[in-house]
């Protein structure tokens, strides 16, 4: 079965091709069914591969499938190959599974769009690249996927390009991701040439990881840091997160698939995949964990006061990704990947739920104009609340297990500050999620009459995926329930992938596992603490935003009162810490000016040089002319006439452009000569 793994990415690619080329001539039903069906088949193949992998003994669970030799030159050779191991199997299950549900959902959500075929073509193409990214067996294939998902994300954010904000958001995502990708490429090159120095001409994971130990620590730190810059861009970490909230201009299924469940987790996957490298660079680990937890807190703080239903979820996604980075940064790869999986379920669910709300509200996204929607949207609100409970970290839902495992691992590895920040962030998460739930689904409807009249539950194609995702958000955590004899099922499954990293980490901190029994008890206590924090967040949100609870709230605990009392902080958070403005002032505008200056240099300075030369001659001519007239007046009149004539000729010459070009040519030659003379 595993030999046929290439079918998994191939099917969506075929879908993208057919819909992209013939889509405009096919009916909407055909397009939607084709795209979804191909995804479904991919998912079935992924499932059978999962079953196959499970049935193998642990040490045989890493299978490399080579499709063909991409390029060979000298000793260097790259294959198009796929690495099927527990990590990539988990990722393809998530990508194809959630991807399939979101495709089905989209057939309903996008039904009124005139460019229906284009949407599905892009969406299928995205899934293809995402699968290449997670399945690739070497860095080049991963890079192919990495660039490809970026391109598709850009196309899909700007899908409604008639809206200026949408095409601007697409551009912003593109530019910010370029910054990250630049670091990523440099990291890959550094890795490649470090290895080729020691005679390894391969980019296959297996060979790279096997030789990672021979790279000196400083180099490996730089490599991992550069790769992490790429991860920051793709996974929206501080300071490169700014594109993700704007990316919400894209259609909601895109936000769910690309900007919540799959693409943005590529950075986490990349770090987890490279655990062999990251474990060798403890300093990078510190940076990753610190950036992660800071982003988690920072984004959650912004999420507290946003009013756009999707923006809240966007900041929540940034925040949750921060959690994942905190986990992989401290070496808890399994916990990070586990949270990645559960997050795909509940955040996908929340986004699709918000899409269903927006669909019902005729496109309205401002939560201040919603309210009381539970009456009308039974399925949507129920599933949405399940998602909110899951992310808030209330047992036994999926989010609880994964978030708690991260907090526990962070605590166990001795990062107390990260743990405290993580705990506070968990409380904030619960607060803003339930603020959203209460504002959207409870109380009185604040919409205008026209919108109110149109509120309707979404069609089956949209609610059924919601229900399936809700089930997953409830049960998805079972694989991570601790207290089994051999650790959690997720640990058990993923361990073989992270053994590279684990070997190093355990070697360094062998004392960590001395007293399992005490730790077991402590883990339970910490669990209760984090549940209490989550519950407190929900409680505080209910006091502020849930009508029946409002009467119990103390007088200062009202949204308006708090906003006016702490108006400075409120304004700061509401304006997202002014990060966009800072970027504009410090980076965007200077770069714009620099680019313009470059052109001016080519046209202006070089031109100016020529004009200057001409002007100098003219000036000299003028000077000598005056000199002739006033000083030697009358004596050499004939000569003066000659010089002024000379000036006129030069003026005429320097106004043309060929002279300008030729002068640059000669100047260049002179500079080169000068350089060589100085050099020797």
């Amino acid at each position: 079965m595993v030999q046929y793994v290439w079918l998994i990415p191939l099917l969506p690619l075929i879908g993208a091709f057919i819909n992209g080329v013939f889509g405009s001539r096919l009916s909407k039903t055909t397009v939607g069914v084709l795209a979804s069906a191909l995804m479904g088949v991919s998912f079935i193949i992924a499932c059978s591969i999962f079953v196959h992998i499970i049935s193998l003994p642990v040490h045989e669970r890493s299978i490399e499938v080579s499709v063909y030799n991409w390029m060979t030159s000298g000793q260097f050779s790259v294959d198009i190959n796929f690495l099927v191991d527990p990590l990539s199997t988990l990722m393809i299950l998530v990508v194809t599974g959630v991807g399939f549900l979101i495709h089905v959902y989209s057939t309903g959500y996008m039904h009124h769009d005139k460019a229906f075929w284009r949407f599905f073509s892009y969406l299928n193409l995205f899934v293809f690249f995402m699968l290449m990214l997670v399945l690739g067996g070497n860095y080049l294939v991963m890079f192919l996927g990495w660039e490809g998902v970026g391109l598709c994300s850009y196309l899909l954010i700007g899908f409604w390009y008639e809206k200026k904000s949408a095409s601007d958001a697409g551009k912003k995502a593109f530019v910010v991701n370029r910054v990250g990708d630049f670091g990523f490429i440099l990291g890959l090159f550094l890795l490649f040439w470090t290895l080729s120095d020691s005679g390894i001409h391969s980019l296959n994971y297996g060979e790279v990881f096997a030789h990672a130990g021979s790279i000196d620590p400083a180099t490996i730190t730089i490599i991992t840091l550069l790769l992490f810059v790429g991860a920051c861009g793709k996974s929206a970490q501080f300071p490169l997160y700014v594109w993700l909230p704007d990316a919400m201009e894209g259609p909601t299924p895109v936000s769910a698939l690309i900007h919540a469940a799959t693409m943005v987790t590529a950075g986490v996957y990349m770090v987890a995949r490279n655990n062999a490298l990251y474990s060798l660079a403890p300093f990078t680990g510190e940076i990753v964990a610190s950036v992660g937890i800071f982003t988690a807190f920072f984004a959650a703080s912004i999420g507290l006061v946003q009013n756009d239903i999707k923006k809240v979820l966007a900041y929540s996604t940034v925040s949750q990704l921060g959690y994942m980075f905190a986990a992989v940064g401290v070496g808890a790869y399994t916990a990070g990947v586990f949270h990645l999986m559960t997050h795909a379920f509940f955040k996908g669910l929340l986004f699709l739920g918000s899409g269903s709300v927006i669909h019902a509200m005729s496109g309205e996204q401002d939560m201040r104009k919603m309210g009381g929607l539970h009456k009308h949207l039974k399925f949507t609100s129920t599933t949405f609340i399940i998602g909110a409970v899951a992310i808030a970290g209330i047992p036994p839902l999926a989010g609880f297990w994964s978030k708690d495992e991260i907090l526990w691992e962070v605590f166990e590895k001795g990062h107390i500050y990260i743990w405290i920040t993580g705990l506070v962030t968990a409380g904030m998460t619960a607060f803003y999620m339930f603020r959203q739930v209460f504002m959207t689904f409870t109380g009185e409807c604040r919409a205008d009459e026209h919108t109110k009249h149109h509120i309707h539950e979404s069609p089956k194609s949209m609610t059924v995926p919601l229900i399936i995702l809700a089930v997953l958000a409830v049960t998805g955590g079972v694989v991570g329930i601790p207290f089994f004899e051999e650790g959690t099922a997720a640990h058990h499954f993923l361990n073989s992938v992270f053994s590279h990293g684990a070997a190093v980490v355990n070697h360094q901190g062998a004392a960590a596992h001395d007293s399992e029994a005490i730790y077991g008890g402590l883990e339970f206590i910490l669990m209760i603490v984090s549940v209490c924090v989550g519950a407190l967040g929900i409680f505080l949100a209910s006091l502020m935003y849930y009508e029946p609870m409002k009467k119990y709230a103390p007088s200062f605990w009202k949204a308006e009162v708090m906003a006016s009392k702490f108006s400075g902080l409120y304004t700061l958070l509401y304006n997202k810490w002014y990060v966009d403005e800072i970027y504009d002032a410090c980076i965007v505008n200077p770069i714009k000016r620099a680019c313009a200056a470059c052109l001016r240099f080519d046209l202006g300075v070089l031109d100016g040089m020529v004009n200057g030369a001409g002007w100098l001659t003219r000036f000299a001519a003028w000077l000598s002319h005056k000199f002739d007239i006033y000083v030697i007046d009358g004596l050499v009149n004939s000569m003066a006439t000659g010089v002024s004539l000379d000036g006129r000729i030069l003026r005429r010459l320097s106004s043309g452009q060929i002279q300008h070009y030729a002068l640059v040519f000669v100047l260049g030659l002179i500079v080169i000569f000068g350089g060589f003379i100085l050099g020797y």
Binding site: M71, S73, G158, A662, V671, I672
Partner: protein, 491 residues
């Protein structure tokens, strides 16, 4: 007196086989001139068909003419390396001829001489690629350049004349400088033959100032032909003024010819002095990459943008010349091969989009192309992504080989600058894609280029071939790369 012809042939080493492709091309050109004489103006297009048939027939001859021994008293060498480049030139010429037919009709400038001047330009390139003597090189270079001066001026408009005049005057200027370089080379070496220079290379004192002057002059002369900074200023004007098929041939053919000789000269005859010229080319390469990529961002006209993009590409290819080992040289050859397809493809789409009055070349004319002509927009996006070096296109593998060779030879900074310029260049390529896919056309009337672009069979075939080749070279570069490596190994 009785001349013993065979003996003379022997002494001069007259090996006609070595010049078979050039000879056949010359015959083709003469045949075209004769036919042109008998054709009425409205029938000139049939000349294009004859040209095409001739080129297609000569292509296999050029590909198989491999004779590593120098012929004609060491003037000519028809090795596998020359054959590789000859194939690139002829393919480029075929593409240019096929798209010319419709384009010339569009700008109402059907002329017979157009076709055989293209052939003469190609002959010039072929002579350059197989030249083993600086004199022979100069003959080829001038033949190519003079033909291009005429071709650029073929569109009798103000911009055409302006571009051609600038190209001509500066070209004459650079030829003079190149000739100075050749003279100096002769001055210190006593010969213009590359094999001879290479043989005596070790005897030359490394502090020979004539040698340095010769190197600088020769580099400047070639840098002009490949449009490297600071000798690049002519190219946007010439590209803009010329008929688009000529621009395509100019950007691919003349550049490939210059690089062909560049490699043979600096890799062979002057290889001993690598330390002297590598530093100079290093700086030219870095400056060319950065200037080309940054200035391209500001361009509003797609031909000018592609001209600056072509400058940036020359900078990246120069990396391979700086590195100058087997892998790097093969990388340069592979790059030129890929470049011929992707750049030809992009220019074909540009030629298709241009309107009768010569407008339709603004980037904003590409707005909304995806909605109306999805296939055309898709292939254009493919070419642009390939030019930008996005995997899995041919442009990516080509860049990869060059940068990998730089890294292997420890030119880390140059490779890093190459990566930076690639990252910058993505902005202006993506801008066109952005316009095609995410904007509505400005004017919705029938005059908008988006709706007007007629698609004839010729255009479709060229677009199909170039698009497929661009993809295939990206997915499966090994056969061509192997050929290049084999060709370089005998250099």
């Amino acid at each position: 007196m009785i001349f013993n012809n065979a003996a003379i042939m022997q002494t001069l080493n007259v090996n006609l086989n070595a010049v078979a492709p050039v000879a056949l091309m010359t015959v083709l050109a003469i045949v075209l001139m004769v036919i042109d004489f008998f054709l009425k103006r409205e029938n000139k297009f049939s000349l294009g068909i004859v040209t095409l048939i001739g080129l297609v027939l000569i292509l296999p001859v050029a590909a198989t003419t491999v004779d590593p021994a120098p012929a004609f008293g060491g003037m000519v060498i028809a090795d596998a390396y020359a054959a590789f480049f000859n194939v690139v030139f002829i393919i480029a010429a075929i593409f240019a001829v096929v798209i010319s037919n419709d384009y010339l009709r569009k700008i109402s400038s059907e002329r017979g001489e157009y076709y055989y001047i293209i052939i003469f330009a190609t002959i010039g390139m072929m002579v350059m690629a197989s030249a083993n003597d600086l004199v022979n090189l100069y003959v080829g270079l001038e033949l190519m350049s003079l033909s291009f001066y005429i071709l650029v001026a073929m569109r009798r408009s103000a911009t055409g004349a302006e571009g051609a005049l600038k190209y001509f005057i500066l070209g004459a200027f650079s030829s003079g400088i190149l000739l100075y370089g050749i003279t100096f080379t002769y001055g210190f070496a006593g010969t213009t033959n590359l094999t001879e220079i290479a043989r005596m290379g070790v005897n030359l004192s490394s502090a020979n100032h004539y040698l340095l002057i010769a190197i600088i002059m020769l580099v400047a002369g070639f840098a002009f032909k490949i449009a490297a900074f600071p000798f690049h200023l002519w190219s946007p004007d010439a590209y803009e003024g010329a008929p688009t098929p000529v621009t395509a041939l100019l950007s691919v053919g003349s550049k490939a010819a210059a690089f062909a000789f560049f490699l043979r000269f600096f890799g062979g005859a002057f290889h001993e002095f690598h330390a002297h010229w590598a530093g100079l080319l290093w700086i030219l390469s870095a400056a060319t990459m950065l200037v080309g990529a940054t200035v391209a961002i500001q361009q509003k006209n797609i031909v000018r943008m592609l001209a600056y993009s072509s400058i940036a590409h020359a900078g990246i290819i120069l990396i391979g010349v700086v590195v100058m080992n087997g892998f790097a040289s093969a990388g340069v050859m592979f790059y030129m091969f890929v470049y011929a397809f992707m750049n030809m493809g992009a220019f074909t789409v540009v030629a298709l989009m241009a309107r009768n009055d010569g407008t339709g070349k603004s980037i904003s004319d590409y707005k909304g192309l995806a909605g109306r002509r999805p296939v055309l927009a898709f292939v254009m996006a493919l070419f642009l992504l390939s030019l930008a070096g996005i995997p899995p296109t041919g442009g990516f593998t080509a860049k990869f080989f060059i940068l990998a060779s730089a890294i292997e030879a420890r030119y880390y900074w140059l490779a890093a600058i190459g990566v930076i310029s690639t990252v910058i260049s993505l902005f202006f390529y993506a801008k066109v894609i952005f316009y095609m896919y995410m904007k509505e056309p400005d004017a919705l009337d029938d005059m908008a280029p988006v709706t007007q672009a007629p698609s004839t069979l010729a255009y479709n075939i060229i677009i199909f071939i170039t698009a497929v080749s661009t993809m295939v070279l990206g997915l499966c570069p090994t056969p061509v790369m192997d050929m290049a490596i084999a060709a370089v190994s005998h250099l």
